[in-house]
Amino acid sequence: MKVPREIEEIANAILRSKVGIAGLTILVVMVALSIIALIYVPFNVAKEWNNPLFWQRNPRLALPSWVNIFLGRKLPETIVIANESIRKYSYYLETTGLKYNMLEAKFSYDYQDFPSELRLMLYVNAERVLVDIKWIQPTNGVEITLWKGFLQSGSNPIYISTSNEVYNYIVDSLKRLNLSSSRVMRPEIILFTDINLSHTNPMPVNGIYMLKIASISSNITDDIDAELIIYGKVYGLAGTDSKRRDLFTGLVWGAPIALSFGLIAALTTSFLQTIIGSLSAWYGGLIDEVIQRITDVYMILPFLPILITISIVYKIDIWTLLFIVVGLSVFGGSTKTARSMTLQIMAEQYIEAAISYGASRKRILFLYILPRLLPYTIANMVLSVPSYVFLEAALSVLGLGDPMMPTWGKIISDAYSGGAVEHGLWWWILLPSALIILTAISFAFIGLALDKIVNPRLRER
């Protein structure tokens, strides 16, 4: 099969310039990222993204793990201790008719910063279970009682970091050890510092920690299970947001959405505009007049406000949005440019020749005129992709994006409204921004390379 001359020209223009190659390289990486996202993300992101239970084992607002390389100290990862890493002893005392369960969760802590949060989940299958939870530090085996009391059947969360009750138990234990400090410290800091020393600048003690849970209940089948989560301060390749969501998943998942949204919108609008503009010039007369007047109206219409109104009134998802964007851009600047280019081409002799040997008007338009407009259309398309990617982001920032899908724009908007700018949560806002900018730049570079075939006179003197 022969490659059309116009396509060959476009490929050459891109591959012969440095910026063109740079743009193409970035684009290829983005496409690869999209494919990886579609194949390897093991769950339905769109479904789980807004489900808080799905993300509950992740730390809140954690930095990306790779910051450890630059910090010179190790920030903690999240440690989850459950099932087989917890040792269980149980025995039933027939004389008293009591069932004793002992859980021992040992873990080693080797980081230069405190965890961000602690949470314990206790699962019991009896109606009334007396539970005693103790925290044992590596130095001198200091024992701190975290909680004592009765649990109901089912899952019982104990929020060690935020519960007032737990805090009071901890302070009581410290008093009993004559260690009560006048300063108020967060539980996760007290539990991980050497409480014998009164630090002004507390550092975590490294070593083997142990959580001891003792339960007493009245039935032989009574059982207890635990899950301790020590939330870290770093997570994954892109950190987490304020809802504990893994940003890397969101960012990877955003790539195919952004690319397909931008490409589909750009492709349909620029081809439609070119074809309509060309039609307008080629058929002339009334058709020309009508198309030109409609284009004038379209160019006065406030595009963004109309789009915002529609999004507010009808609460649309991203693909409906795409449809409306295309509908609002059927006529536009390119209609006018394509029309004037067609008028120029029509004056050329080969068109005259085609008319004289009796080629049909449709054939001349689609086979002889439109291919000549192809380089212009493609350059135009490539350059307009970023504007559509940013349009989606803009609507998200205004709170009008797709409510379910994690798009780059949605992540930026979440970060923006979540105070990422004011609190310097840079990873939350800069990583999605970097991806959007990279995508935009890749298309801009390819467009710059194509500019020279669109405007051949721009070649340097």
């Binding site: 007047r293 963004l304 915002i308 921004s433």
Partner: protein, 357 residues
């Protein structure tokens, strides 16, 4: 020949005026349809009026002593009066035409929900209260970036293909594809959070300084970052356009001939390159000045700047159709007037347009 010239111009202009007016009317009508969400807002308003009537009547102590029929009659009566007072009794399509005539004659009416800071519900008051803030930021910015861009464009035309030209082309195309609000978010992060040299947003501190000089300085302090963002994100693309326009002209035979004659570079650039490229340059600058009037919805939102852009968003968000229509109509009028004035100037200056007539 001399006598017929003005006639041709008049005929051409007459045709343009007619087409532009039709365009304006259609565009405004479509905006009215969209801003009212095709009649959806009417239903919301009716329901709200009915709810207000019922809840205010129910508070009266004698209300519960009336029979159900009497209650229904009184509600209906008041509802009809309220609806007639708001003009909601006529069918939607009929009312769109009333809106259209009102809008075109600039009787912008009263806002549904938004009030101006002075407490007025008049759409004119609301718009003209916000206009100065937008003009201050965006029109200043547009003038500045146009000038900077033009000067850079001229410089690049002198040395096309040079290092600066090539590097700047890349910068221009990169800033062109990234919208100003996006730079806004990044710059707020850098300059307000990390460097702490600018505020995060807004136009004045709370409470605002009392003396006029302090107030002006405070506004300037708040304006610096959005102004910088606006100029930074737009001057590159504009310089690139100006450069392309001028490089094309610099290749023309008459310029080459003038150069061959040995004209000094300065005169060559000014008379032979800059002057013929002025028409498109003027068109682009005047159109961007007009659209700067509109403000920038998202950029203003990001910087929390109290201009027309945020008003637009507020109006759309509260489905305040009269304000949305008012803003669109004023903008459309200004745009059409600008296009018309440019047409007039060119038809007098450019013989080719006269000929097409």
């Amino acid at each position: 020949m001399r006598m017929r010239l003005p006639l041709i111009i008049l005929k051409y202009l007459g045709k343009r005026v007619l087409f532009l007016l039709i365009t304006l009317i259609v565009a405004v009508y479509l905006t009215i349809l969209v801003a009212n969400a095709g009649g959806l807002i009417d239903n919301i308003l009716r329901a709200q009026i009915k709810y207000d009537i019922v809840s205010s009547l129910a508070r009266s102590p004698v209300w519960s002593e009336l029979t159900e029929e009497e209650q229904k009659r009184i509600i209906d009566e008041r509802f009809q009066i309220a609806i007639q007072a708001k003009g909601l009794d006529k069918p939607f399509i009929e009312r769109t035409f009333i809106y259209l005539i009102d809008a075109l004659t600039l009787r912008l009416g009263r806002a549904l929900f938004i009030t101006s800071a002075s407490g007025s519900k008049n759409v004119n008051d609301i718009i003209f209260e916000r206009l100065p803030q937008t003009v201050l930021l965006f029109t200043t910015g547009t003038i500045l970036y146009s000038l900077i861009g033009l000067i850079l464009g001229l410089y690049m035309t002198k040395h096309p293909g040079g290092l600066f030209d090539r590097v700047f082309s890349v910068f221009a195309i990169v800033t062109q594809v990234i919208p100003p609000w996006f730079f806004g978010i990044l710059f707020i992060m850098v300059f307000a959070y990390y460097l702490r040299i600018t505020p995060f947003g807004g136009m004045v501190s709370t409470p605002p300084p009392k003396d006029p000089l302090g107030y002006a300085l405070d506004v300037a302090y708040h304006m610096a970052l959005p102004l910088f963002t606006w100029i930074f994100s737009l001057f590159g693309a504009w310089a690139y356009i100006a450069r392309n326009l001028m490089v094309q002209i610099a290749e023309e035979d008459f310029v080459v001939a003038a150069k061959a004659k040995g004209l000094p570079e300065n005169i060559l650039m000014r008379r032979y390159v800059l002057r013929p490229s002025l028409p498109p340059v003027v068109t682009i600058i005047s159109l961007s000045l007009i659209s700067s009037w509109q403000g920038a919805i998202i950029t203003e939102t990001v910087f929390n700047w109290p201009g027309l852009g945020t008003l637009f968003l507020q109006a759309i968000g509260s489905l305040d159709a009269p304000v949305v229509i008012g803003l669109t109509v004023i903008y459309a009028y200004l745009l059409v007037a600008t296009v018309l004035i440019l047409d007039l100037i060119y038809s007098i200056l450019d013989p080719r347009i006269r000929a097409r007539g």
